[in-house]
Amino acid sequence: AQSVAQPEDQVNVAEGNPLTVKCTYSVSGNPYLFWYVQYPNRGLQFLLKYITGDNLVKGSYGFEAEFNKSQTSFHLKKPSALVSDSALYFCAVYNYGQNFVFGPGTRLSVLP
């Protein structure tokens, strides 16, 4: 069975500093990995995904994520955080024949 872990419920970072939101997964075969962001009272918005190829994936709003197969991780990163990045972030995994499985979410707070 597939599973996704986001080991931090909450991440606090000062504006202008780099941010990392962690994600690890468990899946048989080759996974497809996604990051979504959720603002208050809004649906999930797609940020980026890894399918194959370059392990560093660039996405919306300056976010990027690095796929690490040996560590089964797909951490979300941004070089310089903005206050407006404060939101709930979800990692998700997909494998053929299975369904999308989402992690529990990490709340990011960027402090001015």
């Binding site: 399918i51 989402f102 979410g105």
Partner: protein, 114 residues
Amino acid sequence: GAGVSQTPSNKVTEKGKYVELRCDPISGHTALYWYRQSLGQGPEFLIYFQGTGAADDSGLPNDRFFAVRPEGSVSTLKIQRTERGDSAVYLCASSLMGGADTQYFGPGTRLTVL
């Protein structure tokens, strides 16, 4: 273009009542998904449609939950004899062809069962 829309945005009902939640996917998307999101948790898969047929309904918690997509576009999630534990945000998503295609989410319907 228009994104995924869901109606109503909020629904308050009494225990034992029947509710219907509607989802309008992105035009041309053949795949449609329903998820349930409880407070402090990630979306939990309920059902997946490919066209008009339910390709996977393994996430429906019990037979009180049912969903249809009769013309391959709009979908309705139906909950009979609602219980307080059904209270959650119900999210709909669509993707072009299903599989690993990116899913695009609607704003959700917040269901409260009193």
